[in-house]
Amino acid sequence: MPSFILRAANRILVGLILVFSVYLLLRGHNAPGGGFSAALVAATGFALFAIAEGPQPVRQALRIDPLVLVAWGLLLAIGSGLMAVVTGQPYLTGLWWPADATVDTPAVGTPLLFDVGVFLAVLGTILTLILHLEES
């Protein structure tokens, strides 16, 4: 039986960790962060959840199989590179909206899509491992 303190703290901490991971994901292109590290942070949140409540509630909270996350992550990362190919540029070239964005102005681009893909793939892989380990 996990401790009451851990379970109480869990409710606040998991949310905070997940918000922080989204923050890392979004700032990733121009500053330290990015899909990979954001996914690691998010995975620690889910790991904490799994330790406090057990793996089954985590699966219920996730609603989708982590392997599906891996698949969509891979497809998203590959697809984000293909957009540049469609416009006639080399694979994985970053496309930005607005196109004249600088470091200081907010902009959305295919690198963000790529990062989200990496995020999903890494998170899915780690969750698959963690949940299997917790269950066995």
């Binding site: 698949a71 694979y91 070239t93």
Partner: protein
């Protein structure tokens, strides 16, 4: 059409994602795998066509110019390797339909297979040393998971040996990478070709090149670092061991060839003698190890080692003819060796075992006997099969270089190969079926398993009777390797 360079890499990865999405539908996984393998094969063929007619192709991924970004480069060697990867990929996918159990498919056989092929293609196409390291890791993880998929004791034991030794090799590789980067400030292979010449201390360069030699030597199963290979290759399903035997060690050989032609061309460092000695010892130990085995897949595993010795011999001699021989040997060997493993699966289906003691009487199965006979004796170097030409080119170039001992070793090892192929032949085919054993013998072998074997046998026969185009391609590849300026110029352009 340089954008096509990413296709052999991203297509298998997309296939892995699709296979994960359809992981409860084996039929969907199989159909998508067939489609993707076909696309991979076509892309490889198209790539070779482009390279052959328009010269070396380069793609600066993300639009970042070399040496800052990662370049994908296809010269003749890379394109040939990608194409042959597609051939083995296709054969193995077809074979998997009948051979891979529903359990293995549920545990993720197809996604792992696709990731493995994506990693192999990446390793062949990358023009960046660090990127090569990443592809090695991708391959290592996917292949380890494939090795232990069935969760038997033998698989775990072989798998752990495999992963520990190979992780050690990648660690050495990474150390070498760090030192190279410290010396030159670049990891682009073409750029390194220029930069390493300017390093003041030749001792440093030689030391680092030995690190690379050791790392890739482990990967390719070179003497004395080969022992992980026969410990693991006979444990997984036949389709898996076929793709391992055909392609994995050959990525190591490819990396050796690429490193010691482009990055550290053999000079006066004495490394060439070391490579030649390792090649000779690899040939001998591999073939002697095979003679002591009595399980078909273990015999074949030891033969991979002795055959790797031939390819490295071609690299070590470092003449145009010898390198062409090494490239030709690679092509011939991948087809023949993967096929022999696939055939061992057919023998097991008919005889119920891989152990030579427990099977026999296969001679009555005329087609199976013929299918085994051709690649087995091609491997041993019987004229006019493909192995004969491969061995002849290499022995001829050893004689040209005045290396009579090496030529003798190569010829003698060929004879010993005949010995162990004859052993399989006598035990599995000539000898009557042991009556003491009541093995479950299946009389029907699925056409999914026979068809790829027949196709690869036809390819072997085709290379054997019509070697000219293959030799020409190998010669062009060797010329590019020995004079890397075209490669360097294509990748880094005017920048010096």
């Amino acid at each position: 059409m340089n954008g096509l360079l990413v296709a052999p890499i991203i297509v298998p990865f997309a296939a892995a994602a699709l296979a994960l999405l359809g992981r409860r539908r084996p039929l969907f996984q199989h159909v998508s795998a067939l489609t993707v393998a076909a696309i991979h094969l076509v892309a490889g063929g198209w790539l070779l066509y482009q390279v052959h007619h328009q010269g070396i192709a380069v793609l600066h991924v993300g639009g970042w110019p070399a040496p800052f970004g990662i370049a994908l480069v296809a010269d003749h060697l890379s394109a040939l390797m990608v194409l042959i990867t597609g051939v083995v990929y296709g054969a193995v996918v077809v074979y998997s339909r009948a051979e891979i159990s529903a359990d293995d498919i549920r545990r993720g056989y197809y996604p792992l297979l696709h990731i493995l092929v994506g990693g192999i293609s990446g390793a062949f196409l990358t023009g960046d040393l660090f990127n090569l390291y990443v592809w090695f890791e991708v391959m290592l993880m996917a292949s380890f998971a494939l090795l232990v998929l069935g969760r038997t004791r033998a698989q775990i034991k072989g798998g752990v040996t495999y992963v520990v030794i190979n992780l050690f090799a990648t660690l050495l590789f990474l150390t070498g990478l760090g030192m190279v980067y410290g010396m030159t400030g670049t990891l682009n292979m073409a750029h390194l070709h220029l930069k390493l010449r300017a390093v003041a201390d030749p001792g440093q360069v030689a030391a680092v090149s030995v690190l690379f030699l050791t790392a890739f030597g482990i990967k390719s199963g070179l003497f004395p670092l080969f022992f992980w290979l026969p410990a693991s290759y006979h444990t997984p399903p036949v389709a898996v061991s076929a793709i391992f035997s055909g392609l994995l060690t050959k990525v190591g050989v490819y990396a050796l060839i690429r490193t010691f032609t482009l990055i550290f061309p053999f000079g006066s460092s004495g490394l060439q003698e070391l490579v030649l000695a390792a090649a000779a010892l690899t040939m001998i130990t591999g073939v002697l190890g095979a003679a002591a085995q009595s399980d078909i897949r273990r015999i074949l595993s030891f033969h991979i080692i002795s055959q790797v010795g031939y390819m490295v011999l071609g690299l070590g001699l470092f003449t145009p003819l010898a390198l062409a021989g090494a490239v030709f040997y690679l092509l011939h060997h991948i087809v023949v060796k993967a096929n022999l493993f696939l055939i061992s699966g057919l023998i097991r289906q008919r005889g119920g075992s891989f152990a030579l003691k427990r099977i026999g009487g296969m001679y009555a199965r005329g087609l199976l006997a013929l299918l085994f006979f051709i690649p087995a004796f091609s491997l041993a170097g019987f004229p006019p099969l493909s192995g004969f030409w491969a061995k002849m080119i290499l022995i001829r170039s050893s004689l040209d270089s005045g290396q009579f001992v090496l030529a003798g070793v190569a010829a003698a090892v060929g004879l010993l190969t005949v010995y162990s192929m004859t052993k399989i032949w006598n035990e599995a085919f000539w000898k009557p079926m042991p009556t003491t054993e009541t093995a479950i013998v299946q009389n029907r072998v699925s056409v999914w398993m026979t068809a790829p074997v027949v196709a690869l046998v036809l390819l072997t026969v085709c290379i054997g009777f019509w070697p000219e185009p293959f030799v020409q391609l190998a010669r062009t590849a060797a010329e590019e390797l020995l004079d890397p300026m075209a490669y360097v110029y294509t990748v880094v352009g005017e920048m010096r």
